[in-house]
């Protein structure tokens, strides 16, 4: 009856092209002798996963959280603590530890969300920040888990029949998870739940008076995003074999938020675009000039003024 207005009419080919490229990337990099960049690409995807989860809150639901790193860090520490306390047991299996990291992210989000979602606007921003900072200071002082120095993992999580320790293998696992996450987010956006979130972002009062239990929808979105951020944290802990409280510092939350805005608020590919652009700039710019952060700042300003809908917005225009 009506054409889908949300996504990709004639453009439907490019996600597939991107996926094909992503599948071939390790081989391409290998051909040129850039094997190392496989891990870099993995890092981009993990940050993209984190940014996409935040985009669900900020871009789709209008909930600007500046404490999203809390769930990221919590997921990472879940994996690290399991490995530290029960190393060599099934607890280090990705089949157990990654879902558990998601669960921890979800539970934490349920708790923080239940309190913070009672406030709005900047008050919401600051109260999410407050909770993340509290968690940061707690982990900073936890001696048994490394405190400020963070803690190393002796090895990546295990999967039956798959060696996650190999960077290329880990890359494909992350790619698969990220692809699934994007698929789920894309479906969610077009499903009833996504419409409700977008409705809340547009006009919360009206949603309430139409009979939507706004708070519940927001809380569920918050929990979903928390779980996804927890998974991103678990993956990042695995990629680096290292976790530290800095993963939950407010500046980390800020950087992810910047990635989302840069990439495109409420756009399915916004998280990926923002994370990739930010990390690539940070990787490339220092090679050209010593005070590269000035240039990075200027680029971000240019995006604000000339691409107000973010990088993914340019793509669609």
């Amino acid at each position: 009856m009506t054409m889908p207005t949300g996504y990709s009419r004639g453009l439907a080919y490019w996600p597939l092209a991107l996926l094909a490229l992503a599948l071939l990337l390790p081989q391409l990099l290998g051909m040129f002798g850039f094997d190392f960049y496989v891990s870099f690409a993995t890092r981009i995807m993990i940050m993209a996963l984190l940014a996409s989860s935040l985009n669900l809150l900020v871009g789709t639901g209008g909930m600007v959280s500046l404490g999203h790193a809390a769930f990221f860090g919590a997921g990472a520490y879940t994996v690290a603590i399991l490995a530290r306390e029960w190393g060599g047991t099934p607890a280090t299996s990705a089949l157990l530890s990654w879902p558990l990291a998601m669960l921890v992210g979800a539970l934490l989000a349920a708790f923080i969300g239940a309190i913070c979602l009672r406030t709005k606007g900047v008050y919401f921003i600051m109260s999410t920040l407050a909770f993340a900072q509290m968690l940061f200071y707690v982990f900073l002082s936890l001696k048994s888990y490394g405190g400020d120095d963070g803690m190393s993992l002796t090895q990546r999580s295990t999967l039956p029949g798959i060696d996650l320790g190999a960077d290329v293998v880990f890359y494909y696992v992350v790619l698969a998870l990220f692809a699934v996450a994007l698929l789920l987010l894309g479906r969610l956006d077009r499903a009833r739940f996504g419409k409700v979130l977008r409705g809340i972002k547009d006009n919360e009062l009206r949603m309430e008076s139409l009979g939507f239990a706004v708070f519940r929808f927001k809380l569920v979105a918050f929990i979903l995003a928390g779980a996804m951020a927890g998974l991103a944290g678990a993956l990042m802990g695995n990629l680096n074999n290292f976790v530290s409280p800095n993963m939950m510092h407010w500046e980390q939350s800020g950087v992810v938020l910047v990635m989302v805005i840069l990439g495109g608020l409420g756009r399915l590919w916004g998280g990926l675009a923002g994370a990739a652009a930010m990390l690539l700039l940070e990787e490339i710019l220092p090679n050209f000039l010593p005070h590269w952060q000035i240039l990075l700042g200027v680029i971000l300003l240019a995006v604000v003024f000339f691409a107000p809908r973010g990088l993914a917005g340019i793509f669609r225009a």
């Binding site: 009856m1 009506t2 499903a191 009833r192 419409k195 949603m207 009979g211 939507f212 239990a213 929808f217």
Partner: protein, 249 residues
């Protein structure tokens, strides 16, 4: 039987009494119009009925349930639907999606994460039907933000209708409309009359006298008169307090 029964409602802001021991009812199929000068307490009354403001005292019974302390969304789920004085729609949605979203509120759970809304043909058929009833059928694919003021008011009403209400709480639906749009709105409400219980708050006296089965006059938080259009027109107190003012203004 009353669809809405308000008794002894009271609200104070600081020392100021804004709703003063107020009784009001709307019968099934009745269009009850509420008029009153600015500052009479209409906005606070609507806020209390719709659930965005808690009364200090009194009872609100709607469709057999006491809803005095219910949150707004539960009242809406029970069939109490409102339109807003200042247009309140979803500007980033298309007109059709606006209405579909409103229908979604009353048809099954919205905790659905997988199936695209667009595939729910029942939802969109119902939405198209509402658009037809509110005269917006030609505009379905337009972004809501791009509509003119009169069309915004129609969409506002369409949203209220889409939730399968038992009672419509219409907060100044003609506000800001030109003569032509006003006329269309009056005709629209006329058609809705008798299908729903309606509580109409309106400044446009011509519209009120044309539409209302019963009119109540609100002054300083109290109902000072209630009755048919004829009775209100001839009520001395109302003339003095209200219509007089209207003529001066």
């Amino acid at each position: 039987m009353s669809m809405l029964e308000i008794s002894g409602l009271k609200k104070l802001f600081g020392g100021l009494v804004v709703t003063d021991n107020l009784d009001l009812s709307v019968a099934e199929g009745e269009l009850h119009a509420l008029i009153g000068p600015n500052g009479a307490g209409k906005t606070t009354l609507i806020a209390q009925i719709s659930g965005s403001l808690a009364p200090d005292d009194g009872r609100i019974v709607f469709a057999g349930h006491e809803i005095t302390r219910w949150p707004a969304y539960r009242r809406a789920q029970l069939g109490l639907s409102r339109s807003f004085q200042i247009t309140s729609i979803f500007p980033s949605f298309t007109v059709l999606d606006n209405v579909a979203l409103a229908i979604q509120a009353r048809s099954g759970s919205s905790f659905r994460f997988w199936q695209p809304v667009k595939a729910e043909s029942a939802l969109y058929e119902a939405a198209l039907e509402i658009l037809a009833r509110t005269g917006l059928d030609a505009l379905g694919e337009n972004p809501a933000a791009a509509l003119g003021h009169g069309e915004h008011r129609q969409l506002e009403l369409a949203l209220a209708l889409a939730t399968q209400p038992k009672l419509l709480l219409l907060d100044e639906p003609m506000a800001g409309l030109g003569a032509e749009d006003s006329q269309r709105m009056v005709e629209l409400i006329e058609r809705l009359k008798s299908q729903y219980a309606i509580l109409l708050v309106e400044h446009d006296m011509d519209a009120v006298f044309r539409l209302a089965d019963r009119i109540s006059v609100l002054m300083s938080g109290r109902i000072i008169a209630s009755g048919s259009g004829e009775a209100i027109r001839s009520n001395a107190e109302v003339k003095l307090a209200y219509l007089g003012e209207e003529e001066i203004a």
